[in-house]
Symmetry: C2
Subunit: 163 residues, 2 copies
């Protein structure tokens, strides 16, 4: 059956990869919105959370391909990840151009920080089960905390205003 429908185990694996990474296409919906760079970042965080909630095995394939790539990495995985990263770089560059974000911000480092922050929440789940409530009910609170950190930094206002 597997060999008939998918052309063997390898074909099956590439089908699974394609299905798992198809959700990355939806970045187009955020991309075409006319909105503030900060709102686009929030949309990206919300979208990433939804991707992990809807695809509980996504991180398994995602991290496996990034740390131990198969021959499908270049054709199926890398383009999906790059598309999102390149979109976020544009958002950060737009924010800098609009004087909304710091001029000395490095767009790529910033984007990797952002993507890492939200993906790690899901990656670390098994190790942090008793430290944090991972329920979807807390999602808006989590998004608010992440946006707060990203938009204001962790220092108080007083200290921020003197930098």
């Amino acid at each position: 059956m597997i060999s008939y429908h998918f052309g063997g185990k390898e074909g099956l694996y590439s089908s699974v990869l394609q299905e798992q990474f198809s959700c990355f296409e939806d970045i187009e919906e955020i991309k075409t919105q006319i909105s503030d760079p900060l709102i686009k970042i929030e949309d990206y965080i919300r979208w990433t959370i939804t991707r992990h909630r809807n695809n509980p095995y996504l991180l398994r394939y995602y991290t496996s391909e990034l740390t131990n790539p198969t021959k499908y990495f270049t054709s199926l995985v890398q383009p999906a990840i790059r598309k999102v990263i390149l979109f976020l770089i544009e958002v950060v560059e737009d924010g800098i151009a609009k004087n909304l974000f710091r001029k000395d911000l490095d767009p790529v480092d910033t984007v990797l920080a952002m993507a890492g922050m939200v993906n790690y929440y899901f990656l670390s789940m098994l190790a942090t089960q008793d430290l944090i409530n991972h329920s979807p009910d807390r999602e808006e609170e989590l998004i608010r905390h992440y946006m707060d950190i990203f938009a204001r930094g962790i220092l108080g206002c007083q200290r921020n205003s003197t930098i």
Copy 2:
């Protein structure tokens, strides 16, 4: 040979895991320093970068155990990760208590954001090779960018001071 020295494949795997995660013990060195919470965060970032540079396969075992745990996860992997996360939670709580960090900061969310940021830089390497220079020469610059994001947020000072 393998079966003599390690008690079979399983024993070998647990030896490799133990070796890979032994570097997590070094968190004690940062822990015992008497220093500003912000300096401890910078030390953590620098230490994590060193861990990944010295152990190129660490992320492979780390992500594999988190997304597809073996029977060794609970005894070998979880305690190593928890130790670091609990230490960072203490650092953030200390920063809040000292009025250095925002009162409304959620310590656990903040720590996961921090750990995610620095780990993802290494996790995403294969997908971002042409977007960023991953050379160790750029490390101090990277640490500065991550500290900037974390300590000040991505908005300019003017905006920060009005929040």
